[in-house]
Symmetry: C2
Subunit: 324 residues, 2 copies
């Protein structure tokens, strides 16, 4: 019987708790331990290990690759926080805020190298292919971050460009993790393609939902509403709204967050009123459903479809916060 | 007959000229091409390939690893320039100065990943070991950079601590390159240890000479004198001088570069007068000779000693700017 999501998470957390770095130089290594023990849902290693398990591979032997993707993910957050000037991360000061930019740059570099240190312990006969998948994934994530920064300076971002950006920035790390898992378990080329597709679509659904919750989330659940709006960020809602707006509405969408005479609440209300008028919430919900359904239906086409893919479907539902 | 230094450099430059990255996103990839085409002596890939050649391995098959160490070296310069706030690199604006900090961070990350992309093409049967050597080398370089930054804040740095810092910051990349070369060529464990020692000692001699030339170089040869003194940097001369100084001299060594009433030339003259009084130039010269002689004598103990190591000795002499 394959392992449940909770069991896999437990095995991974236990391996993670044994993560060790040298003690010195402290400013290089302490931020790595600080970042990795800062919580987080461990989505990428869990997906990697669930995939290994579903295809009948060894969860234990896949642990170095699982550590590598989690280290890589946290490395990207560490460097992103410098670029975004972000003071907080998971309710604690970011490495950047706590230790400064130079420490954040260099300890981030050491963290990326440490990810490869773990990856080097993957099964030797599969290492060349796993390295290739990992490197492609890692470059895609960098590309996504660059496009995201590019979009901040751009007047016009098409919906297609936006989807391609989040496919790199968010999906690539999930689809790469699933693909590395399938590769380690020796899955067929056909299954590899399909599991990659599953995680790509799921990642898109997840990011689009995240975009939507920023404007339409439940404040009762502790979700702070409107952060993206106040930052003037390009999100699916904003891109789609700009796409549908007339000249006057477009101007309002672009400039409301800059209007100093408005309170934050007024800015958010103004932009959300435009979102409602342009019916973009509905468009986002449709996209999310479409992507999520595609992800789940790909699972049914895997050669192992049935009991072995139940936990992958569970992972998908958990990620989206759904019961079924 | 083994290849000369010039032949190896030519083969490497030819491979390097075929370096390709995706076109988009431009701000991610253009800085990589800009950095890699900015010149430099290609010391590390040349040493790697000379070592492969000396041990009878295939220079062609070692090319991906040679590209990887050169990419890694240039990645470290790119990120160091952010940390050091350096506007120029090899006579051109640094990536940091040209494109800003965020582009420098992210394109540097992509450059490090690109190094691993090349490394993944190393001979598959040697890849796990080559990855391990590369990762250890890369972490040592980060450690060296962190210690170097730590030393700027420290009152007391011992000569031993200083040597250990430059062993990481400068030697590690040379010794790692030589060791990867020997490993790819299938050299014995004993030869591996010795070639590592050769490059370590050579790297120390090189860095100590670089430290000395900052104060005692030949301005006629275009060397700008006293940069380290004006920055108040810890160098071998400074560390050794502080070590030998009385309380009054120590105070002068520590504070001269901060004295606003002095011109740059006066600051340099004041510190150099103390160096002369404390006889640290002589101490540095002795260390350089000692390390350089050790490096050369290790070559004679290799199992391939003789004609096959001539080009490695030539590399060592070239590096130190010596005819013999």
């Amino acid at each position: 019987m394959a392992h449940t999501n909770d069991e896999i998470l437990q095995v991974f957390e236990s391996a993670l708790s044994r993560l060790q770095t040298p003690e010195e130089p402290e400013l290089l290594y302490a931020p790595i331990i600080y970042s990795m023990s800062g919580g987080g849902k461990r989505l990428r290693p869990v997906l990697l290990l669930l995939t290994v398990d579903a295809f009948g591979g060894s969860v234990d032997r896949a642990m170095p690759a699982a550590m590598a993707v989690e280290l890589f993910h946290n490395f990207t957050l560490l460097h992103d926080d410098i670029m975004d000037n972000a003071a907080m991360r998971r309710g604690k000061p970011s490495v950047y805020a706590k230790w400064g930019g130079n420490v954040a740059i260099l300890s981030g570099d050491a963290m990326l190298i440490t990810a490869y240190k773990y990856l080097a312990d993957a099964d030797a006969d599969k290492l060349p292919r796993v390295m290739q998948l990992f490197n492609n994934m890692a470059l895609e994530v960098c590309e996504g971050q660059q496009y995201d920064m590019d979009f901040e300076q751009k007047e016009e971002v098409s919906v297609e460009d936006y989807i391609q950006m989040i496919e790199r920035k968010t999906s690539a790390l999930l689809s790469g993790s699933a693909l590395i898992g399938a590769t380690l378990a020796g899955a067929s080329e056909d299954d590899n393609r399909k599991i990659y597709r599953f995680a790509t679509e799921l990642g898109l659904a997840f990011q689009l939902q995240d975009d939507m919750l920023d404007s339409y989330g439940d404040e009762a659940l502790g979700k702070k509403i409107g952060g993206d709006i106040l930052e003037g960020k390009q999100t699916y809602l904003m891109v789609q709204a700009l796409n549908r707006a007339n000249a006057e509405e477009r101007e309002a969408l672009r400039t409301t967050h800059l209007r100093k005479e408005l309170t934050d609440a007024e800015k958010i209300a103004t932009v959300k009123a435009l979102y409602d008028k342009l019916d973009v919430k509905h468009a986002a919900e449709q996209q999310i459903e479409l992507r999520f359904e595609r992800a789940l239906s790909v699972l049914d086409t895997l050669s192992i479809a049935g009991e072995r893919t139940l936990h992958l479907a569970e992972f998908a539902r958990n990620l989206m916060g759904r019961k079924r």
